[in-house]
Symmetry: D2
Subunit: 302 residues, 4 copies
């Protein structure tokens, strides 16, 4: 052993380390989606395990793997962020021969044209997340990859709406029928949904479809440009469609089950909805982490 190779010093009676890695690495990557090249700004975290007998992990290899694979994508775009993550996790196991486990997590800004009307479309921001985990068992390597989307939208509260309706009816009992026929005031607020789906190797899960699923599960999507009438329409749609965080999570789960009929039961799915409550100084949230098989077989689960 090279005496300067402090990392390779042999330890006796020490502990293995689950993850040794680097975090907060900023890079750009190019992804081809639907024939269009997207340049994405990434923040990357990678790690491998370290056996008990080895003093240190060779951290510079992580930066080399990322330079090789991520920087290269700018010339040779990859098909998806989760494919990029998978390539990295496999190469990490290759470069760190002592490791049995590699984890890669990537966050990326992502933009799509959106608008209430065709002449008022503009670029709206989204966030993509990709995860890949590779594990060596003997000669075999098992790899998983996951794609996640993070989307902002709007929810209006169904409970406060009924309370306010009852206030109105109380004061104007002769208008009860009319008041029961229109959306009435409630609190509404920004809602942030994160949806992750595992992607088996022989399947494709399109991040843009996932964004569509999430946007259609809010009380209303939100937009960059809203002229006065469009603003009214967004508000109207949100109040026609009031939702708790629980409703948002359940609606996303239902749409995932309905859309991805070809995904096998063991595929992992998770959804989280966070509501930046306008009537409180704190946030409300709901989440569910499960498999698509569990969701398919749901009966009265509880």
């Amino acid at each position: 052993m090279d005496s300067l190779d402090v990392h390779s010093e042999i330890l006796f009676n020490s502990y293995m380390i689950s993850r040794v890695g680097v975090t907060g690495i900023k890079k750009q990557a190019s992804i081809i989606r639907n024939g269009k090249t997207n340049v994405l700004s990434l923040v990357i975290e990678v790690a491998v395990d370290l056996p008990s007998y080895m003093k240190g992990s060779h951290l510079s290899r992580n930066a080399e793997v990322l330079a090789e694979i991520v920087d290269d994508s700018l010339q040779n775009p990859v098909n998806s962020l989760e494919d990029l993550a998978k390539k990295i996790s496999l190469e990490l196991l290759e470069k760190h021969s002592y490791a049995k486990h590699a984890e890669v997590s990537i966050d990326a800004d992502f933009y799509l044209m959106r608008g209430m009307r065709e002449d008022k479309e503009s670029l709206e921001p989204f966030t993509l997340h990709a995860i890949s985990i590779s594990t060596k068992e003997g000669d075999k390597i098992k790899t998983s990859k996951h794609i996640g989307v993070e989307v902002l939208g709007m929810t209006a509260c169904p409970c406060a709406m009924e309370t306010c309706r009852s206030f109105l009816i109380n004061d104007h009992s002769n208008e009860e029928t009319f008041l029961n026929s229109i959306p009435v005031i409630s609190h509404n607020q920004r809602n942030r949904v994160t949806l992750f789906i595992e992607v088996p190797d022989d399947k494709i899960v399109n991040a843009e479809d996932m964004i569509d699923i999430v946007e259609s599960s809010f009380s209303s999507p939100t937009y960059n440009i809203l002229k006065r009438i469009d603003e009214g329409r967004v508000v109207w749609q949100a109040h026609e469609n009031p939702k708790f965080v629980e409703d948002v999570v359940r609606d996303v789960l239902t749409k995932v089950v309905n859309k991805y009929t070809d995904l096998p039961d063991e595929v992992h799915v998770s959804v989280k909805s966070v509501s930046e409550e306008s009537i409180h100084k704190y946030n409300a949230y709901a989440d569910r982490s499960t498999t698509i098989g569990e969701l398919r077989s749901k009966k009265m689960e509880n």
Copy 2:
């Protein structure tokens, strides 16, 4: 000169530095307010200027000054956060004899009991800010101090409300009179207001009064605990009282002018309102930074 005192090395033909200091110092302090001791968690930044002929500022003196004054307040509580800031800025000039200018900025978590009903009160979080600037001119030292409050509340949009009212009237023209008499749906959201007021030495500006001014300038204050009926009342109040960020800023300014009739014209006042728009993925804001004299003399300014 001590050869180890690298900071005191004499430079020729160099630049002065406006501020050299430390930031992100976390401490606790005790303040007595209305006879009650409050223990506050602080984040502190302090800086002094450095003349062109001196290599480095003695940074350890900043930490010593803070230990002396802030740690000591836990045994001997001070009257206000801005008094604490002032004590520090004066002591900085004392300890850094080469400095002509000292700046201190303190952020603190602060809590007050709040509730829609007496039996549903609980501790609500606020933020205090204090600033003190001391300047040496010859033998004289001029010091200013400022107290700031940061408060979360709720605004409902007046414009979207009128648009939605027009939608309703359009569909139900026979209900026009009734629809003009009730609050109708709009977008509403969390709003964050920061208000700063300069405090002359012979005056007292109470942070709790400033919090009251801000809370009463939202469409509605917000609360930790809201049972169903209370939630309805908050929503109702917000929609009876729709406001743009501009309205919030102007209402705070008006109340400051009306409340602090004893403050001299040159007292500095600033207000900022940030709305976490429920219908957009971005925030809207308005701000004004001025003197109370300017506000008093306002006519059609523009």
Copy 3:
């Protein structure tokens, strides 16, 4: 059912939700530690599960539970942050009768006197974390509680030190013996360690002891006030004691095993060390999450 109780609406063929709760709730609490009352600033997250047949969780009950238990601690201080978390998680199951699972997570600023010398001591900031999870199985409730500490310190890199030593020896081969006897230059940086230990009901794990374990596992602890000689001593100590993030994690694990001989094997322990690398724009980290029994039985694990 009350028609306004939208949350209690019965659903058919829907999904259960793993967690529905609130996050970012700011409060103060009082803890008695070693006969001394500490007022802590908290940020709290609580959640319970929601069965598939129920539309919504009663979120206002969470705020009520927190007002009852946390606000009350200001008058009646509790013994530890993890006891506070446990009280809350049990009360959540009580108040949400439909829930089988309750989770509580609390972050708190915490301060201790520290210094290189007695006359230069001052308040240094730390972070405490507490977690409690309660689960109902039939009539029985199982509860766990965990206490965590987050501590900043300093590491110097053992590998770069040996490389720089080899540079020096290369240029000054006649000084080889001397150069092998002194600490030589390396990169060093801020390191953030988080240590969690599960606390069985009949045991006490003192957060201050955990902070001591972590501080003694860095290359050197760091301090608020460092006069010139003390600064030299901290640097010297760090370079006498160079450490990778892996070393920090392993040293903390070893000390936990040695200190807590009375904790049962199934007690959960986790450690993470993050190094804000001075030679890179990104951070390095290592972590291990395991049980104290696993650590005790470690042999050449890998």
Copy 4:
């Protein structure tokens, strides 16, 4: 007036608002630099003033201006981020006819190839900032634009190095001459420098040159990929070149004055250096905000 145009309501005896705008708008833009197209992820804030007689600013016009100018750059790349900011500030004055003042601030991720050796180069992250302010006076519009860069590097402390050298000499007085000839241990850490320069209309200030100025003013630049020998070289260079935050600021100022001899005296320059102290839990910083004329005429200023 359109009765739905709530913003245009005429107010009497109200206050003007300094800034009404939107913040946190995320977009992508294309910039051509040295014949190469860069796709940048932006975060944008824009605001205009509002006269006292007008109830509200037309916020949707801001989003329209950004869609028009920023989204369009993806097809028709602009020359620089500061040109983009200027285009926006001028268009804001055009669209908000009541405004006399428009401010635009843009942050952008930016990447350059960097490395200690040609075969170990990789994309390193930087941040660009652009500011433009346009003011209408009668028929005339005055516009300024500023470009800023934010760069991470490394500093080693000159003071702790001399203290540690004195410790060594004290213990090994016979090695004094040798010890005075080599770099000895010190604390070192990540340092973040922000440099802004105003860009007159007829001049070009290249952000890449500014990044070079900053990187050469640290004790050493830092890199993504560092094999063992390179790591040693970075550490060595940093310790051959120890610097306080004050030194970093002064060296950047000196280089700016020397490089930009063609910029007129009134051009605004500001520099800030923040050191994430490895021996403290808090940061140290120094800053100077001035004009290039002031810097040129500096004598013993203080």
